[in-house]
Amino acid sequence: MASIAPENEIGSLTIVPTSLTLSSYEQMVDKIPIGGAFINSLIVASSITIGVLVFGSMIGYALSKLVFKGRDLIFYVIIFTMTLPFQITLIPQYIIMVKFGWIDTYWALIVPYLINALSIIMFRQYFKSISDSLIDAARIDGCNEIQIIFRILWPNSMPAIITIGIITFMASWNEVLWPLIVIRDESLMTMPQLVTLFAVGGRAESQLGVKLASAVMLALPIVLAYLFFQKYFIQSMASTGIKE
């Protein structure tokens, strides 16, 4: 079963293709702005990943190394937010987006995902294992807090950064429900969203080949990334147990 990889016969309905043709792909590119969607997904997923890494590490740092009143309380609140199923926040979040005027903009896609409780927890955990003396030495040398995070902590936390980075990127790339809600303008749609609408909305006009072609395009980037970074992917997801 594992061998049913996302490769399909192109443009033909028989089990073994009689002739391979790229015409499906041409048609697909004509019908829907798949290239644009790819770039959209890339922009959104990258921004979210970078944001999560930056904010997550900053908050994780504060929670693990700095001392202030209410620190532990904040941490527990953050954990608590993880227990709430997203179904409750779906509609209210949408309403907020409307009020901000962010519908059909990149903001709606990116901002809600910038602070990720899981990444905060992971960063905090990881930073705890970094010795305080290293940080103190940096302080003595005159580093301010920001420099400590990015010059000292980050280089020493590469495993955590890679793990969180991969998970975040993957999760945001595959996210479909939220884009379906906040984006109506085709030029801004993310790739999974576009393919979904394409497959469901009859734009494919029962032309199987085009539909499958779009599915392959959607799968391709992740599959390629996976082939190169397989080890990291599996390690990352297994260590946090998130499923898509």
């Binding site: 996302p6 227990t83 199923p85 179904q87 409750i88 979904t196 992740i222 992917f233 599996i234």
Partner: protein
């Protein structure tokens, strides 16, 4: 802003389709979770024995996990299609009748559950592999000395020792299963006679198709409470099993 107060709740409790959607989601879970655990555990056991090929198989099994659900669903549509789907063509090819994988209200949800299992089994195989490897070898050796066969070793040693892993797998697939949305949305759009409408799909339709925002928000809250209760119940149930 006017408050409609309890109107939405009254509406909710009269909404048969909503409860049906919750029921559908539960049906999905009841099929998906045990299937997942059995298949993943089984495959993990096998992979655990032959350490050489483990890397390649693990890689292959894990691939569907990271591929978007959209792709998997479109793929499986080609399998499940009534007239043109691969499965039915195989069946008619060997002289049997077609099966309405997605058109029969009684089995549509099962079909989706099987697909979801296929997609995610890789993740749970990896989790189980890790769990299996934490069982101390001495236990198995001691059992061998006492002449235990494979099944006895499995049920008396392996299962109890990986209880935490099993618990984690159950919780993860439950929470994941409750958010079932994109598969039914693409596959059947809610399915023959609303048999595949998952709760999230229903809430989505209410909110963004019919624009009953307030009502959808109410539904969301109610559903979230259900999820919380299920998880709490599961916790009590499985931790007692220890």
């Amino acid at each position: 802003m006017e408050y409609t107060g309890l109107n939405n709740y009254v509406r909710l409790f009269n909404d048969i389709t909503f409860f049906k959607s919750i029921g559908n989601t539960l049906i999905f879970l009841v099929i998906h979770i045990p299937l997942q655990i059995i298949v993943a555990l089984f495959l993990a056991e096998i992979l655990n024995q032959k350490i050489k090929l483990m890397g390649a198989f693990r890689g292959a099994f894990f691939l569907p996990v990271i591929v978007s659900g959209v792709v998997v669903t479109i793929l499986w549509q080609q399998l499940y299609g009534y007239d043109t789907g691969l499965l039915n063509r195989l069946l008619t090819g060997i002289g049997l009748g077609k099966i309405g994988w997605l058109t029969d209200p009684n089995i549509a949800m099962t079909s989706i559950a099987v697909m979801a299992t296929w997609k995610n089994v890789g993740l749970y195989i990896v989790l189980f592999l890790v769990g299996l490897q934490t069982v101390p070898v001495q236990y198995y050796e001691a059992a061998d000395l006492e002449g235990a066969n494979h099944w006895q070793k499995f049920f008396k040693i392996t299962l109890p020792m990986i209880n935490p892993t099993i618990f984690m797998v159950v919780i993860l697939s439950t929470i994941g299963g409750f958010s079932l949305f994109i598969e039914p949305y693409i596959m059947t759009g809610g399915g023959p006679l609303n048999s595949t409408v998952s709760a999230v799909l229903y809430i989505y339709k209410q909110g963004f198709f019919y624009y009953h925002m307030g009502y959808a928000a109410t539904l969301g809250l109610f559903f979230a409470l259900i999820i919380l209760s299920v998880v709490v119940i599961q916790k009590k149930f499985i931790e007692k099993d220890n």
